[in-house]
Subunit: 209 residues, 3 copies
């Protein structure tokens, strides 16, 4: 739930500079909050979680409206930093919960739980960026998806080798993702050049545009 | 059916300035016409409506080819205005029909019928704009989705309080959406500034770019 | 399988100029390779093929990493041309296999098998381009989707009139698509102007930008 709120609020703040209306704000907030889980449930052919429990929808709509009404407040430096952290925690919780769900259903171990964990965490944001005409996070160098991926892999390994320590390992994996993400935010970490495609020999004197 | 035709034709006219080929025209016309209903059926885990009844596909393909062949005709001022109105009527019919279907299935009342009504009406257009590299309607100030949203809310309230007047209330809700949309087209209504995100203090002397 | 590999590799080469990271490369390679089949299975409400058989995922991930690591190699003229051909063969195989599957299930003949054949062949590439912020192939004049469409129509006709020659006709349809695509690559064929929307009277002295 905290993740749902944080996803909706950071979505609104992300698209706000584009001057979109309250309707667009709520749609994009909602999609960011529930889009990843919707893709997961569609792929697994399970009932979509928000049809079963509408409270996710109410919370995401409420958070989007609140973020719209109080943009000034949420854009304050300290509040925004807190929201980014909450968003990172949300991504961690969404991912690990999804890995757990898929693992328990015994679908395509080990790859499918990992992939659907990542999809659940970043899918909503990808759809939001595409609809809002923003570059998706796949195109950037922000360390967002990589911590999620590593956490999902770690949790899958732990589930395989320590199946009885379910709760402990889930908390450890969430903490792992959150710590990586918090460190990336705190020290503004970016990926090294050799992890990128394209020409690598860049003159260090002339920064790229 | 009229809605399917209007959706396909307005889709072709919308993307025509981009110089795309007949294949792209038909694909985009088809997606605009059946995309929203496809999303609805996927989310509800029902058989996709156009697999059950292919006539929707034939009509959408035919309308797209016709719009391609007779672009000059459909782009005439009076014909285009009529097409816009027909498109508004199509959106109204698609939305109310979807609310009806989801309500009858008793899925997640009251929020899920409203959301899927809106998705059915605007989903196809969103996918079209994303594939064609156009800004989606979420980013504009056109009054298109808001009338649909209000109509779906109205119809849901009527279904809850007047469950026996099914047909009358459906017609009323379609008429309500269509009237709002027609008024928006006729007087070129735009959303007021306070409904938008972003900086609000704009010098009235200097219009925005 | 060859198609999966070729799709992943050509996807990586297509997005490489944008300087994206290894994570984005693998995600986009994977989506290109399995995205079309995923859409097909979602629409048919069948279990997603890569949940049943993870080897597709491993192969697509491996091919994406290989393409990332050896961009220089794959970008060599001769290798790249071979990859384009392999990609065309992959599209042909994906499409005909999908038509076959949908036809055997007796879903919405004759239109649905054709549509899902095309979706399977080009759907992954469309999602990739949208996520990577590239114009989709619907907007270009490359002869890619049209051979696939013609091949799917041909195969559907053959299935209807020569139902017992199943294997022979499938091979013929794959060969047909591949031959058209190879000819388009070899002679750099583009679609004629009259197949495009928009203004047609272009001064032949002033080429378009």
């Amino acid at each position: 739930m905290a993740g749902t709120i944080a996803f909706a609020i950071t979505a609104v703040l992300a698209v706000a500079p584009k001057r979109i209306d309250l309707f667009g704000v709520v749609v994009l907030g909602l999609i960011t909050a529930v889009g990843g889980g919707t893709l997961r449930d569609l792929i697994l052919d399970l009932p979509i979680f928000w049809i079963e429990d509408q409270s996710y929808l109410w919370v995401a709509i409420g958070a989007s409206v609140a973020a719209f009404a109080a943009q000034g407040f949420f854009n304050k430096r300290s509040i925004f930093a807190g929201m980014l952290l909450l968003d990172g925690l949300g991504a961690a919780l969404f991912a690990i919960q999804a890995v757990d769900k898929v693992w328990a259903l015994d679908f395509g171990r080990p790859l499918v739980p990992i992939i659907l964990g990542v999809v659940t965490a970043i899918g909503g944001g990808l759809i939001r960026d595409v609809l809002a005409g923003r570059p998706t996070l796949l195109m950037g160098r922000e360390l967002y998806a990589i911590p999620v991926l590593f956490g999902c892999i770690l949790y899958t390994v732990l589930l395989a080798y320590l199946p009885d320590e379910h709760t402990v390992t889930a908390i450890a994996a969430v903490a792992f993702i959150f710590a990586l993400r918090a460190a990336a935010i705190r020290w503004n970490l970016r990926e090294p050049d050799w992890l990128l495609t394209g020409p690598r020999q860049v003159d260090p004197e002339k920064p790229e545009a």
